[in-house]
Symmetry: C2
Subunit: 370 residues, 2 copies
């Protein structure tokens, strides 16, 4: 379904907004109270560039929640069940965040910018409110703020060549989630090997929004010989690659899930004794296997995505829900991510979806699909 979206003052524009309009954006979605490009009118070409070439994405909606001050590290560690003891300046970490009851509320990338400064590059929920409340209630010496940072992603197998052309060959030695503070002829940014795809690439955390158009055009120009084009985080590729989408796969409001259900178990450190939000609840949960488990599905007969999570059935029983599905040209069928009753996660017969009066058979498939 397509509807119009009015551009009004209630929703923030990205620093790259005018550049994306100039370069042909057709549709937006909204994420962290900001517009994010959805497509540029050429879905096949945008997918192809990501898989076989190189794409540039306005992902300024990945807002940074900055923790700064003497207690920044203490707060960062308290906010996530993942153990950060060995995280060094210049390293990023994927950190599930849970509320005090153990439900997932976000899954940001944490960047340790300095010993007294961390960024949480957040998915779609207001972690700044949550983090600031906790810091103040504990009386810790740390300020929670939103710095002027606007990530731009370069993704795809040729992303490294484009990024090296811009910054030099040192970028080829960056490890995954590793980052460095640098600049592009004076445009200040943090350059990280990261991004919401498994096709390889970098994110340029621009630190001066007044220079966004300049940065956008520099990337476009350096990427031209490699066939770069504008795009957006791609749902087909993320389903193929098994990336999690907080807000689609699960969300606090109506599709809650625990980190154990979502496969984050290995990131939950209950052993080293560090305290964190939700520790008591997660300790109780860890005592027994999770009730549900995240699985991949292939789905027959190419149903249309109804635009919201749908029940997953076995016979007359609802055994889970399918968060999102899409036709994958590379897998050659419709694929999706589901949360299913744990006893069915390894083998299950007769799974199906019911959409508009039709039944669509679904079959378990390992994640990632490719």
């Amino acid at each position: 379904m397509q509807f119009s979206l009015s551009i009004g003052p209630n929703i923030r524009k990205s620093a790259y907004f005018d550049a994306t309009v100039r370069d042909g954006v057709r549709g937006f979605s909204v994420y962290n109270h900001m517009y994010i490009p959805g497509n540029f009118g050429d879905p096949e070409g945008e997918y192809d560039r990501l898989i076989n070439g190189v794409a540039m994405w306005d992902v300024a909606v990945q807002r940074q929640v900055q923790l700064m001050g003497p207690d920044a590290g203490r707060l960062a560690q308290y906010l996530t069940p993942r153990n950060l003891a060995k995280t060094k300046v210049g390293q990023g970490r994927y950190v599930p965040l849970c509320d005090h009851a153990g439900w997932l509320i976000n899954d940001p990338v944490l960047l340790k910018i300095a010993e007294d400064c961390y960024w949480l590059s957040v998915a779609d929920s207001d972690i700044h409110l949550w983090a600031a409340a906790i810091a103040h209630e504990r009386g810790w010496a740390v300020e929670v703020s939103e710095p002027d940072v606007s990530p731009l992603a370069i993704q795809g197998p040729k992303a490294e060549d484009v990024t090296a052309a811009l910054f030099g060959d040192w970028v080829r030695d960056l490890r995954y989630f590793g980052f460095r503070q640098t600049d592009l002829d004076g445009i200040p940014l943090v350059l990280a090997r990261s991004g919401w795809s498994k096709q390889g690439g970098f994110e340029l955390y621009l630190q001066d929004s007044t220079r966004a158009l300049e940065l956008w055009d520099r990337v476009k120009e350096a990427g031209a010989p490699f066939g770069i084009g504008p795009g957006a985080p791609n749902d087909i590729e993320r389903l193929e690659s098994g990336l999690i989408s907080y807000g689609a796969d699960m969300r606090w409001q109506d599709y809650r899930a625990t980190p154990f259900e979502m496969g984050f178990g290995p990131l939950i450190d209950l052993d080293s004794g560090h305290d964190f939000v939700g520790r008591a609840a997660l300790t109780r949960m860890a005592a027994e296997p999770p009730a549900r488990q995240r699985v991949g599905l292939t789905i027959a007969d190419r149903p249309a995505l109804p635009g919201s999570p749908v029940p997953l059935w076995q016979g007359e029983e609802q055994v889970g829900y399918v968060a999102e599905f899409a036709y994958s040209p590379r897998v050659g069928t419709t694929i999706g991510h589901a949360l299913i009753r744990a006893d069915l996660a390894e083998a299950a017969e007769g799974l199906h979806l019911r959409l508009s009066g039709q039944i669509y058979a679904a079959t378990l498939h390992p994640i990632p699909f490719l």
Copy 2:
């Protein structure tokens, strides 16, 4: 500017979504991670029904943050600087919420449902995360959750007749923000005299989302003799009436404001000694007049709204910003809300906006405009 909006699983559908699609919704915006109808293709008619007749709005995006348990009242009082001591069950209150530093983070209507149960009917920020963090860090016996509640608004001078036709003449005696738990032939809901307009009306807080279509159609049917039609919260009317829009007039991320700047001073109770989030910061602020003040403006020559807050100039100096403006048919000119340097709030010459290389004169005007 108009762009398409894709309907996907990342953003929730309202319980009334299918009804609004059936009844001709053309555009949506996003609020509290949900789609909200923006217009039904007839802006003049929709405005006219609100001002002269009656309109029905899907405002299920007004999510309820429920506080329940022995410490619910204690938490409700701690979350807002407004004194709730005299608030009775069945009464609503407009309650600014500030963070620990005293900045506004939301401006919900609080409904005291029971001695141990409160709802915060929130504007566009994740207050559930913030409230739950505070409750747990304090160790209070109160659960923060999102109940199955989907408000539907009936607004306009004929709203009372429609609502009385549905529920009986007792609704005519409800005071402003007063509410009652009731049902409509078994459809459970809280009926309140409230709504985001100054044209009068009610909000039906539906408590069973599976019956949303039924409720929508009952309201439509009862309203037919009064010329009811679908609409949405109306920016022109809210500017005329001086209603505040958190997310447009101010927001924590980039257009922060204090409650004193926004005119909420009379609601901030620093005298009775009750403790609340931000008390120390607000006490410091209250010691001197606010640096900025909210004012109304009339603007010459009908500029197009650029879709984001814009600077307000006096000569070569930026003296504030204009959050939103729109052409008001009833005032006969473009009107807007601004935050301006406090010394200019009573009288100021030479105010203007600069948009697309043009200068548009602006003149102070009392709020409300009508």
